[in-house]
Amino acid sequence: MSRTQFPSSALDAVAGTPDGATVLVGGFGLAGMPFELLDALIEQGARDLTIVSNNAGNGDVGLAALLAAGRVRKVICSFPRQVDSYIFDELYRAGKIELELVPQGNLAERMRAAGAGIGGFYCPTAVGTPLAEGKETRVIDGRTYLLEYPIHGDVALISAWRADEVGNLVYRKTARNFGPVMATAARTVIAQVAEVVPVGSLDPEAVVTPGIYVDRVVRVDARSFLAQGAR
């Protein structure tokens, strides 16, 4: 009996997400965004959330819909401003949402550190820039580095391609992006997948996220966001 649970609906999968939670949300733009889990989180009702994601929503679906529903207090991301980030832009300009801007590599590595039990790390990214303000610096072998701290999530919402019945995950193409690192960095990791296959069906050499990291898996019908006019 696997520790990974397989709730029958996305709403059951996100049950228990508390108000004030830090939620890691997978995806790069729309690729790998866990649409169904985000819709379920809107329905579930958790508020005052801190969202950690690469972007701050596209169009009016997925993460953008969660923002539009007024559930998000703060976004920690690398690239909020995009051609179709109008929901975030409006909230930000109205002072209704807080932004912590993090270089993309630090965003990924800070979550990797959280998942690997690393208390902090020194990195040369952003040295001498406005994003270095307030950070401890250290010179190692003649190069200057900034001290970066881990980002822990209470919950991670990610989208993978296939799971097996013990929660091992494989992804598809560049939709993998933040999924594997977010799966290591949150207390409760929830994955939506297009297919759940029997144990033994995934090549163990090809498993990307081992089931040890995955708490809940929900199968959703693959949906084409292109057809839904999200771009």
Partner: protein, 213 residues
């Protein structure tokens, strides 16, 4: 000296010719993306995209479009034989660990000492977005910048000190512009090629201490 300044497409072709065969290369969003159109298959240049892929192919069209396969600009792309996918932490470890040979980035300004400003205008109403620019700036072995040499108002974008917020310090190796290619060296900026403007005229318009032809 050629008869006139280069178009961005001609400049992209020039950058592509200067990328050593077999290089692993990241092309930034905007004009640098055009460099891909001028890379010859026999050169064996492998394109990296920071959202987790090596071996990126051309932009996808029609039936090829797959929402799970995009570039850093979120444009649908294709995969070439030999492509590899990896997660974001691996993608940036690859970059920050010094494994990429070249990156080509756009810029608002570059300083004579190779400082780069390309992420934020600093304007009060401008929403800042940095993406992977700061990681690329410090990570790639060679950082090429591709930009117009002057703003629309005629002000040089190669400056003694950047007035826009910095992306990285002393990180730029070479600047490709419509009027000249300029190497950033420990001795100062060096004009290596000009297009439609003499070295003397360029030196006068840029008025940069230490600039040499």
């Amino acid at each position: 000296m050629t008869t006139g300044p280069l178009t961005m497409d001609e400049l992209a072709a020039l950058v592509a010719r200067d990328i050593p065969p077999g290089s692993y290369v990241n092309l930034g969003i905007g004009h640098p993306t055009k460099v891909a159109d001028h890379l010859l298959p026999e050169a064996g240049v492998v394109l990296h995209t920071e959202n987790g892929m090596l071996g990126m192919g051309p932009t996808a069209a029609g039936e090829e479009v797959d929402p799970d396969l995009t570039n850093a600009g979120k444009v649908p792309v294709t995969e070439l034989p030999g492509a590899a996918y990896f997660d974001h932490a691996s993608s940036f470890a690859m970059m920050r660990g010094g494994h990429l040979d070249v990156c080509v980035l756009g810029a608002y300004q570059v300083s004579a000492g190779g400082d780069l400003a390309n992420w934020h205008t600093g304007g009060a109403d401008d929403i800042p977005a940095v993406g992977g620019a700061m990681d690329l700036a410090i990570g790639a072995r060679l950082v090429f910048v591709m930009m117009a040499l002057f703003t629309r108002g005629g002000a040089p974008k190669l400056v003694s000190r950047c007035t826009y917020p910095l992306t990285g310090v002393g990180c730029v190796s070479r600047v490709y512009t419509d009027y000249a290619v300029i190497d950033i060296t420990p001795e100062g900026p060096r004009i290596s090629r000009t297009f439609g403007m003499s070295v003397a005229e360029l030196s006068e318009r840029l008025a940069l201490p230490g600039l040499a032809g």
